[in-house]
Subunit: 141 residues, 2 copies
DNA sequence: TATGCTGTTGCAATAATTCGCAACAGCTAA
DNA sequence: TTAGCTGTTGCGAATTATTGCAACAGCATA
């Protein structure tokens, strides 16, 4: 069931003057294949099965590129590597417990008020849609 | 003029069962010496002048440690390395323009409402006090 | 089709960060 | 003071991430 809210990435990229190459398509597919957050290394290992010649540098560059285009999002949960997932679905953020490592989610709507306020005060339009906030969870306090 | 709000780091660390070693003291001093944000490499190069034997791994480990103890804070402005600065002074966050790279600041008080709300809803106490939010600045929109 | 412009890729080199482990240092209790 | 426990450090290697550059590929125009 194709989602009308999610325009064809290929079209989006071309409309902006870039190219949807086989590498980019494969990497996008690999991000989608990860149920949720995937590290660059996980994505690389998925892609390399289909295209053994692909280089790690291409994976890193392409992930950056797709994130700039807001087709995927990334987030640093403090695990050493950034993690990536498809954008669009339900924008959300995370609460990471510094003690036990538990990760909770909360919806983007909680942030929208502040972001709007910042836009009014600073004329700055925030596009960040995938934050990690650190602290202590209910159990660990 | 000593600041009563800033307890002696050495005391804080020892009270928690850790040790204030010469390395930790030097690294803390090096963070303080940087006027604002410093990269691990900048900190390393300051410290290595005083203690040529110190290893980069120690710098990275110690920065993590001091950040966990909330004596310093860090933030990823998208420049390749995390940057560190002393905690405590004026907690603040940054707006980083994706196009021109300009970095603006805004005060922690803007976030406090949301953080309080999250605490009510999730029982999660957020300690993050140095965020980077990405988007487009007034000029670049 | 031929040509040129520009975006993309792979490779190798480099940079940034982390890890494993043995040596070392500070604290406590005998 | 000595012994023992545990936190810390230095070293070097391993891992992870980024960069520079030449070759290549897609699209447009002639």
């Amino acid at each position: 069931m194709p989602n009308a809210d999610q325009p064809d990435p290929s079209r989006v990229i071309r409309q902006r003057g870039f190219r949807m190459t086989p590498q980019r398509q494969m990497i996008l597919d690999a991000v989608a294949a990860g149920r949720s957050h995937s590290t660059p290394e996980q994505i690389y290992s998925r892609v390399v099965k289909k295209a053994p010649a692909i280089s790690r540098a291409t994976v890193y560059r392409t992930l950056d590129f797709l994130a700039e285009q807001h087709l995927i999002t990334n987030c640093d949960l403090g695990t050493g590597s950034k993690v990536y997932e498809m954008a669009g679905a339900q924008p959300h953020h995370h609460l990471v417990c510094e003690r036990c490592g538990r990760v909770e989610q909360f919806g983007h709507e909680m942030m929208e008020g502040v972001f709007k306020q910042i836009e009014l005060n600073h004329g700055f339009k925030i596009t960040t849609d995938h934050l990690a906030l650190f602290g202590l969870c209910r159990q660990c306090r």
